[in-house]
């Protein structure tokens, strides 16, 4: 699992930095960052990732639209996607699941939660 190639998508430079540091502490060192859904889609077309962590509220292209776009492609239909967002109302979570999100974390998160959710997502995907 430590050899996961992760794409971390968040418009907040602070959050990207925290997520990347947290991932490194958990043993995930191959992490690329993207600033929003549009940037993430462009990166997915160029390089091969086997895990995506994405925020929801982002400019240009929000996380939900990004996930919908990703799932519309057969190439990424089984790409594990973990949403990390402040949104926690039931309708939002159900909407995210319907769009194709595999797992969901509410900000602020603990490092243990992030690691556990990644492992859980990979396990469920395999």
């Amino acid at each position: 699992m430590a050899d996961l190639k992760i794409l971390a998508v968040d418009d907040s430079p602070t959050m990207r930095r925290i997520i990347i540091n947290t991932l490194k502490r958990a043993g995930f060192h191959d992490v690329t960052e993207a600033t929003d859904g549009k940037d993430a889609l462009a990166k997915l077309k160029v390089d091969r990732y086997n895990f995506v962590i994405t925020d929801w509220n982002m400019p240009e292209m929000d996380g939900l639209t990004f996930v919908t776009n990703v799932r519309s492609s057969a190439e990424f239909s089984s790409l594990p996607i973990l949403m990390v967002t402040t949104r926690s109302v039931k309708d939002d979570i159900l909407q995210a699941m319907r769009a194709g999100v595999n797992n969901y974390i509410v900000k602020p998160f603990t490092p243990d939660t992030l690691k556990q959710k990644i492992e859980q997502t990979i396990l469920n995907a395999s």
């Binding site: 947290t22 929801w56 159900l94 602020p108 603990t110």
Partner: protein
């Protein structure tokens, strides 16, 4: 032509009252116009201030992150050096040196605790993303107030409104964003996800 002495007194009184009422309305109009102008200028100023706060807290957060990364990097080096030192000492070194051994173990424990504390600081800095969203939401609400004020002003003014729309390129935000350290939200989300997986949704 009607001469003054032909206008009934009652009509004169009515006209006088009407004129007075119109004067009062015009006077009130003029009084409210100033606050509208003032608010119309102060709202963008408030929005700009919110954006400044977000930018400045983001800059400060990154400075703290720089320091935390330096601290945790330094601590990792110390931990590695302690391991190297431990391995370099003969296996029997601590046998009759319990004080040295205890001190060594205390150093390792304190160093690891300092590293945990540094990481906890980093984790707490997530507040900056959440407060930025809250301020983005407030800026958005101020934009709406400003738009309404402009609309009302245009109704009173006989001039065309040529003012530019306010800059609506604010931070993307969740209007319900909260900095909540309890695990309740995550537990609720996990329970909902479990229900979805089991095919149970209310």
């Amino acid at each position: 032509m009607v001469h003054d002495n032909q206008v009934p007194d009652s009509l004169k009184r009515e006209l006088t009252d009407l004129t007075r009422a119109i004067d009062e309305v015009v006077c009130h109009f003029k009084k409210t116009q100033y606050p509208f102008e003032d608010s119309n200028e102060k709202v963008p100023e408030a929005t700009h201030q919110l954006e400044n706060i977000t930018r400045q807290t983001e800059e400060a957060t990154h400075r703290v992150l720089d320091m935390v990364e330096e601290i945790t990097g330094g601590i990792s080096d110390v931990v590695q050096d302690l391991k190297v030192l431990r391995k370099a000492l003969p296996a029997t070194y601590f046998k009759n040196r319990s004080k040295v051994r205890d001190t060594f173990e205390r150093i390792v424990e304190k160093v690891e605790k300092s590293q945990d504390n540094a990481f906890a600081i980093m984790d707490a800095l997530q507040f900056q993303d959440i407060t930025a969203q809250q301020m983005g939401h407030t800026a958005h609400l101020l934009d709406e107030v400003e738009a309404k004020l402009r609309l009302i002003k245009s109704m009173f003014s006989d001039q065309n409104q040529n003012e530019q729309d306010s800059d609506s390129q604010h931070q993307s935000f969740d209007p319900n964003a909260r900095y909540d350290l309890s695990n309740e939200n995550q537990v609720r989300v996990d329970n909902l996800l479990e229900s979805v997986k089991q095919g149970r949704t209310d």
